[in-house]
């Protein structure tokens, strides 16, 4: 079997005259959690959005399951690949279950409407994300973390093999960040989903990724396991930040400790004290 279900071929992305991603060849391994990292404005969200066909490439192509995505209808893509964009506004007047139900849209046609099967899939999606108890509550009444789980439930109801998430933890407190990423981890482990996430927090990225991709200068700077990617050199080059990289005491994945002006002073003070 193929190991890549998603692949970009010399993909160039941009807005008007500005090129954001230049001739990128990226393979996303099947059944793994891939996390894209990089500095602000490096094009990682743009890349994710174009893989999700929310943004038209300037040139190049994207392959999904060995097929050119241009050849697939948008509904066909929606059966294979789900995306949760970064900015979601909770629609007014919708309950949790009404929103999650929308995830079945690509599987419905004018003649084939709501079925028992659809109902079952929606209930499963709500159960695995822990929002089943809130099924009848309005989405607008939920907290940020709960809302994010509802959106993820909606993408699960789509029953796709691949799930793309654009900064799913932004605006969430640390406990909810862990909760959302644990959920992604579970979906990968239990359901074997291929998951691609754009994430800002490098330590969390290193914890949850099988495969990490660091972007810089419109292309890939480094990719591989978190241990291969997260290095002091990478931090210097990609983020222009001096760091120590140590082992996360809990997960044994790499963990970055950035130097800062304040830290430099503390280190000196300590040196004097000794």
């Amino acid at each position: 079997m193929m190991d890549e279900m998603l692949r970009t071929n010399s993909l160039t992305l941009g807005f008007k005259d500005r090129i954001v991603i230049d001739e990128l060849d990226l393979d996303i391994p099947k059944g793994k959690v891939t996390i894209l990292v990089g500095a602000n404005g490096c094009g990682k969200s743009t890349l994710l959005r174009s893989i999700a066909r929310l943004l038209k490439p300037k040139s190049g192509s994207i392959e999904l399951d060995g097929l050119d995505m241009d050849q697939l209808s948008t509904k066909e893509i929606a059966k294979r690949l789900a995306v949760l964009p970064q900015s979601t506004s909770s629609p007014e007047g919708l309950t949790v279950s009404q929103l999650v139900k929308q995830g079945r849209y690509p599987h419905q046609t004018l003649l084939k409407q709501w079925s028992v099967e659809d109902e079952k899939i929606v209930n499963e999606a709500m159960t695995s994300t822990g929002v089943f108890e809130m099924a009848d509550r309005p989405v607008t009444s939920l907290s940020g973390g709960q809302r994010q789980r509802v959106w993820i439930a909606m993408t699960l109801a789509q029953r796709t093999e691949t799930l793309l998430l654009d900064e799913p933890t932004t605006f969430l407190d640390v406990a909810h960040q862990i909760e959302i990423l644990d959920l992604c981890h579970m979906l990968n482990e239990v359901e074997g989903k291929t998951i691609v996430i754009v994430l800002h927090d490098l330590n969390l990225a290193a914890r949850y990724a099988h495969h990490m991709v660091a972007l810089k200068n419109k292309t890939i700077y480094a990719q591989g396991s978190p241990e291969e990617v997260v290095t002091t050199e990478m931090m210097k080059q990609v983020f222009a930040l001096d760091c120590e990289v140590i082992e996360d005491p809990i997960t044994l994945t790499p963990m970055t400790i950035p130097y800062s002006k304040k830290a430099a002073r503390r280190v000196k003070e300590r040196a004097f004290a000794l």
Binding site: R53, A82, P85, T88, G93, T95, Q102, Y105, P138, M154
Partner: protein, 336 residues
């Protein structure tokens, strides 16, 4: 927040009540007026219309009024619901979108420059004006890097609306002879609209309603956001074009019949949403009947309030609509 009628059964029950209320309003509209006509005459007239019988003629006039009111009411209501869904803006309506003003301007141009007075011809001018205004507003609200933005659409709508109203007033000031003919269009009326005038509008309204029902489900999806809808495999642009098309067909038809009747397209979708929430299939069905009921009753009120004169129906809807508009605007600001 959410809808009051949660289950499908209660929604069907509500719809049946609305239909009964609609029939009652229709009956009132034909019965109530300055001239009393015994109720059994109605059946006589229906069975065998006698153009020499004064009572029959009165009934015929009232029936065509009622038909105009129904067509205008349901068209504006559904049109407003479509535009509110399109822009995700609770204050959107054919009026705010400039559709009414565009249609009116074209009608005034037709009367002033081409001396066209037949209502059936004016209908097509009204329709073209409605389309032009809608396209202008949509383009102005969409062009730019960030794409379609509800706020910019409403701003564009306000500007286009003001533009067409000014053009219209300019034409009328320079050419006062036509003022009389146009004045009723501006106030909005359902009086003296023979049924033949309505005939070309009916198929357009029916086609628009069929499209509206067919795109009801995709519109539910659009409500979750453009990108979500795209991610779920919806062709968002096509859908938006269809929504605009339906809104223009309906509002254009309504303005062509009755002129500038404000607020119906704004408030009826809110009343409908109060009952059935954001499920657009139900929303459209409820808008059809609530819009028709509102207009039938507004017409009756306008007819009997200051006898022997009549208040134009557009004035009645404005009297009901203004406080409602302020209420929605304040509610909307509180939420955001």
């Amino acid at each position: 927040m959410g809808e009051r009628l949660l289950t499908t059964r209660s929604k069907i029950f509500g719809l049946i009540l609305l239909i009964l209320l609609f029939i009652l309003s229709l009956y009132m509209s034909i019965q109530v007026g300055q001239q009393q006509v015994a109720w059994y005459v109605m059946f006589d007239a229906l069975m065998e219309y006698d153009p020499t019988n004064a009572d029959h003629v009165i009934l015929y006039h009232r029936l065509s009024r009622a038909a105009s009111a129904i067509l205008i009411g349901l068209s504006l209501a559904v049109s407003g619901a479509m535009l509110q869904a399109l822009t995700r803006n609770p204050l959107a309506s054919p009026g705010v979108f400039g559709i009414n003003a565009g249609a009116l301007f074209f009608v005034v141009v037709a009367i002033s420059f081409f001396s066209i007075h037949a209502l059936t011809s004016l209908f097509w001018f009204a329709f073209a004006g409605a389309l032009l205004a809608a396209v202008l507003v949509y383009v102005l609200g969409t062009v730019g890097d960030e794409g379609f933005s509800p706020v910019r659409v409403v701003l564009a709508g306000t500007a286009i609306n003001a533009l067409f109203v000014s053009f219209t007033q300019g034409l009328l000031v320079t050419n006062e002879a036509n003022l009389d003919r146009v004045l009723l269009w501006m106030a909005g009326t359902v009086a003296n609209r023979p049924i033949e005038v309505l005939l070309p509008v009916i198929p357009i309204v029916i086609v628009a309603l069929i499209i509206a029902v067919l795109i009801a489900k995709p519109m539910d999806l659009l409500h979750t956001g453009d990108e979500i809808a795209k991610g779920l495999g919806q062709r968002v642009l096509t859908l938006k074009m269809l929504i605009i098309l339906v809104a223009v067909m309906l509002a254009g038809g309504a303005v062509a019949i009755g002129g500038m009747i404000g607020f119906v397209g704004l408030i009826v979708p809110h009343i409908a949403r109060f009952f059935v929430g954001h499920q657009h299939l139900w929303l459209i069905l409820y808008c059809v009947f609530i819009g028709a009921i509102l207009m039938l009753n507004a017409d009756v009120v306008g007819r009997i309030a200051i006898q022997p004169r009549e208040i134009p129906i557009g004035v009645v809807t404005a009297l009901i609509g203004t406080p409602f508009f302020i209420y929605i605007a304040r509610k909307g600001f509180k939420q955001s």
